[in-house]
Each structure stands twice: as C-alpha cells, then as structure tokens.
C-alpha cells in the first residue's frame, strides 16, 4: 500500500518533468498557433464585414510599385495587461508560427497563457522608439525558443487590427537579467532620444536557466495597412 503510494508519487514527478520539458510545449505551441490563427482570421473577417469606410487614399495611382513600399504606420493604443493586440509571425521559426501578443510581461497573465508580452510603457509596433517584447524560450509553447537561430535580415512580422508591421532582424546580444537598458528608446543608450523604430525581443538564457537574458534587435522596415492585404513577406508563410 505504502509502496504503491511512493511509486505513484514517483510516476507523477516524472510525468511533471516530461510535461515541463516536452509535452507542455507541444500542447502550448499548438494552442498558441491556433489562437493566433483564429485572432488573425477574426480581424480579417471583421474588416471584410465592416461597410468599408474606405479611408484607402489611393490618389497617387498604383503605377509605382516601389521595392519597399511603406505606408505611415498606424500606431494602435497600448494594450492593457493580458489584452491581446497582435499576432507575431517569424518565418525562421516555422511556417505555422503565429503567436498572440498581449500587454504586460507577467507570467500568470500574459507569458504563460497567451505567448508574447509587451513591456508596458514601451512604444507599440510601428512607433518611433523601442518596441520591447518578452516570451518564454522554454516551456509554455516556448515562443522564442529559436531566437538564437535568427539570421541577419530575417523578417519579423507583427499583425494588428490596423495592418502588418515588418521588422528585419539585426543582431543578438546576451545580457544580465538586470540590464533593463536594452529597453531604452535607443537600446542601451542612456538619455538619448529615439532616432528610429526598433524592436527588441528578450528571452531567457541559457535555455532552461535564467541567469542571463538573450536579446534580439530588429529594425522597422514597412507597414502595410489592412486594406492593402498581407505584405509579400507573409506569402508562403500562412
């Protein structure tokens, strides 16, 4: 009787480890991708259903297909803690990668259940300054698991209700957990006014530890309003 209880406890402990390392990630990643996909579809159908207020100002005709056309980015208001405002696509992380983004970086409210968190007080996508994000590198579907595999110029696409914001990856860095200066308007430049549109993604390092942080910097490339449809970089991804 007692022996059986101990065996049961041991099996439970092993199951927990297996869940934490693998099973929970399969479940979490699948849930997050499904969630991101359904949010994206909901925005698309909402837009299609809306009686086209057609702000779409296309007076300059479409005869000028520039190589990297960008509209002036629409900046959506900052999301409340745990409120989903975007979906992130990173083709380098997989074709089906589409993880929801929400306000705040607390584990129980945003990072565990939703996916990618937005540091409160940092700009929203497309804005001048440093859009700062955090997500798990291991466990809970590990949204930023492959962050160290990013290569120069990899597209990082954020979809919001307003449209698509494309960033291009520049470089990685490893810092101590207290290095909050990576979230400054110009990363790590104290007291400097924002001079560009940056994106900073932070996650844990080394994997399964939290003694350091890994940071991925990207720069803004373009914004595509929802009326114009998904940008070319997303084609072949969805």
């Amino acid at each position: 009787m007692l022996g059986e209880l101990f065996i049961t406890a041991g099996v439970l402990a092993l199951l927990f480890v297996a869940w934490q390392l693998w099973i929970g990630d399969w479940i979490g990643a699948a849930q997050k991708n499904a969630e991101g996909s359904s949010i994206s579809e909901q925005w698309a159908s909402e837009f299609a259903a809306s009686p086209t207020p057609t702000v779409t100002p296309s007076p300059t005709a479409s005869a000028t297909p520039e190589p990297t056309k960008t509209a002036e980015p629409v900046i959506i208001p900052e999301a409340k803690n745990g409120a989903v405002f975007g979906v992130m696509y990173i083709p380098r992380f997989g074709k089906d990668y589409q993880v929801p983004m929400a306000g705040g970086v607390s584990r129980p409210i945003t990072l565990d259940p939703i996916g990618i968190g937005h540091y409160p007080g940092t700009p929203m996508p497309g804005a001048v300054g440093n859009v700062s994000l955090a997500a798990h590198r291991t466990t809970y579907g590990k949204p930023f698991n492959k962050i160290a595999k990013l290569r120069l110029d990899d597209p990082i696409i954020i979809e919001t209700k307003a449209g698509w914001y494309v960033y291009r990856f520049r470089n990685l860095e490893y810092v101590k957990p207290g290095a909050v200066d990576v979230l400054l308007p110009v990363p790590q430049e104290e007291g400097v006014k924002a001079d560009g549109r940056y994106l900073t993604m932070t996650s844990c390092s080394p994997m399964y530890w939290k003694t350091e942080r890994i940071v991925a910097y990207s720069v803004f490339e373009s914004f595509t309003p929802r009326a114009d449809g998904p940008p070319d970089v997303l084609k072949g991804v969805k």
Partner: protein
Amino acid sequence: MYAALWRILPGPWWVRVLILLVVVAAVLYGLFFYAFPWFSAIIDPDSGTVQ
C-alpha cells in the same frame, strides 16, 4: 491499492482494462492541462521577466 481497484471494477478482464485506459487518459488530461500548469506557476513564479 491498485489490486483493490482491480477487484472493484466490474466485467471481464478486457472491460476492466478498457475502463482503466479511460481513467488513465482522464487523469493525464487533468494533469497536463490543469494541475501541472498550476503547479509550475507556483514553484517558479518569476522566470522570463526582469524582476
């Protein structure tokens, strides 16, 4: 404990095995989707962010 459970279950052996499989599946579902996420947040509440 498990021997008693086996005796309590009705039907021939393959019915009992079937019932146990269903029970095990239900228990695993409860663990993976509810118990473990809850427990994990308790033992390590602040990883992933800067304090």
